[in-house]
């Protein structure tokens, strides 16, 4: 469903993405990990065209992201995205955050959008918080609202950009639980994360990046069993030691 072919990106002379090729099939959960600055977040932002790239091809459901004639807003509306810092809109309640794009992009009427928002909040265990503003919610609650906001668009795939990195430890699991449930329902997911427990549990594949390049792209069991690259082995030994 998501295909990246020989993607290169530079910031000035800095080579952020170096000949990246990977694909995510429908229903697949792929975890992308690697040291900070390795280009994981940039890669995932290229998938829905938030970041431009200079070379290569990215297609989502057959639509080329980089092509000039592509209607990017329309394509983006079909791909959900969850950010490290939640990025809820501070002047809107949780429910309003979820309703906005349903109305403005999909053209749903108020009643349908409200119903959908409340159902999703209920599913996230946040039914009582619909009328609260982001600043009145904990980080974990905000991130679950953000996930609900993305799901409200009925996306064909979900992108997660370090969804738990800004959370206090005790809130990480409430967000991961929601993501695990989503994966088990068959959602196509690309997840940039350091949560190897999550990868262990639901990932089909793990992609390891270093210095802008995809160093390793392996089945979960192969990756955690015998990662082939020295760099990935070093990375794993560092983050799994504790």
């Amino acid at each position: 469903m998501i295909e990246l072919k020989n993607v290169d990106k530079w910031y000035g002379t800095f080579h952020v993405l170096d000949n990246c090729t990977m694909s995510i099939a429908k229903g697949e959960v792929v975890v992308i990990c690697g040291p900070s600055g390795s280009g994981k977040s940039t890669l995932i932002k290229c998938v829905n065209g938030l970041e431009p790239f200079q070379k290569g091809i990215i297609t989502v459901d057959g639509v080329s992201v980089g092509a000039r004639e592509t209607n990017l807003p329309k394509l983006r509306s079909r791909i959900g995205m969850v950010f490290q810092n939640f990025e809820l809109f501070p002047h809107m309640t949780a429910a309003q955050n979820i309703v906005l794009a349903q109305q403005k992009v999909l053209g749903r009427d108020q009643a349908a959008a409200d119903t959908k928002a409340l159902a999703l909040l209920d599913r996230m265990g946040l039914a009582d918080h619909a009328a609260k503003y982001p600043a009145q919610l904990s980080g974990g609650q905000q991130q679950r609202v953000a996930i609900a906001r993305a799901l409200a668009m009925d996306p064909i795939a979900m992108l997660f950009d370090e969804p738990t990195s800004a959370l206090d430890p005790e809130m990480i699991s409430e967000v991961l639980d929601v993501m695990v449930a989503l994966a088990e329902e068959g959602m196509t997911m690309a997840v940039v994360t350091h949560e190897m427990g999550f990868a262990h549990k639901v990932a089909n594949r793990v992609v390891f990046m270093d210095q802008g390049a995809i160093v390793e792209d392996a089945d979960k069991d192969a990756f955690f069993g015998t990662p082939r690259s020295e760099r990935a082995r070093l990375f794993l030994s560092k983050i799994l030691r504790h």
Binding site: K45, N48, L50, P73, K74, R76, S77, R78, I79, G80, M81, F83, Q84, N85, F86, E87, L88, F89, P90, H91, L100, A101, K104, V105, L106, Y133, P134, A135, Q136, G139, Q142, A146, R149, A150, M153, A166
Partner: protein, 240 residues
């Protein structure tokens, strides 16, 4: 001060009382109408300074550079004495003499265009203070560029810049006194006229000062109410 002959009642006599009233009216008219130009125009230019399109951004930046960097007094003179000469003869004399309230209108346009450049900078700084992720979040859900501004960035940016915009609005009232240099009989100019006729300089300028302060205090009060009504709960967002 011992020898000064205080004469407050003279301010209530005609024609002086009428002069104060009409001067105060002109000051308010200049300030409000100039703000009616400055706020929408400044908003458009401030927003234009943050868009991706280079040409739009360039034009907006040029506007701000020109209008913010020339002293307001010089701009008054340029609009009143120089610009009409540059126009075709008929249009020039219309601007200078025949249009309704030529001096007042010129002062309003001049002050409005000048203040717009300052409003634009406040609006731009408000927009730029919003973390980039907010724009990404709006785009990621399929909003187009216009919608991201309309629903995500602008509502937050204006809440952030209400305090500096209040200062700009106060500035319009105070700067309107420069209109006297092109012959508008606004509050300061009327105070001067009363002083020339009656030698009651302390009384005349005290009244002018008190009226300026009353209006600006009223503006501050109103803006506090606006600020309270639109306040965002908590911080803008966690982290950047």
């Amino acid at each position: 001060m011992s020898g000064y002959n205080w004469n407050w009642p003279i301010l209530l006599k005609e024609p002086y009382f009428g002069w104060i009233v009409s001067g105060f009216g002109s000051t308010c008219a200049i300030a409000l109408l100039a703000w009616a130009i400055a706020f929408p125009l400044g908003s458009v230019i401030g927003i234009a300074r943050t868009v991706d399109n280079r040409i739009v951004r360039g034009i907006a930046t040029a506007y701000v550079d020109v209008f913010r960097n020339i002293p307001l007094l010089v701009q008054m003179f340029l609009w009143y004495f120089v610009v009409p000469e540059l126009l075709p003869k008929d249009l020039g004399s219309w601007v200078k003499r025949d249009m309704p309230y030529p001096q007042l209108s010129t002062a309003i346009v001049c002050l409005g265009l000048y203040t717009a450049s300052r409003v634009a900078e406040q609006v731009r700084s408000g927009l730029e203070s919003i973390p980039r992720g907010q724009r990404y979040a709006g785009m990621a859900m399929g909003l187009n560029g216009f919608q991201v501004y309309r629903y995500v960035l602008i509502p937050v940016a204006y809440r952030i810049v209400i305090p500096p915009l209040t200062s700009e609005f106060l500035g319009v009232f105070k700067n309107s006194s420069l209109a006297l240099t092109i012959g508008v009989l606004e509050l300061t100019s009327q105070a001067r006229q009363i002083e020339e006729y009656t030698f009651a300089s302390f009384e005349a300028f005290t009244v002018a000062t008190v009226l300026y302060c009353l209006v600006t205090l009223l503006v501050i009060l109103l803006m506090r109410i606006v600020e309270g009504r639109t306040r965002l709960l908590g911080a803008i967002t966690a982290g950047g």
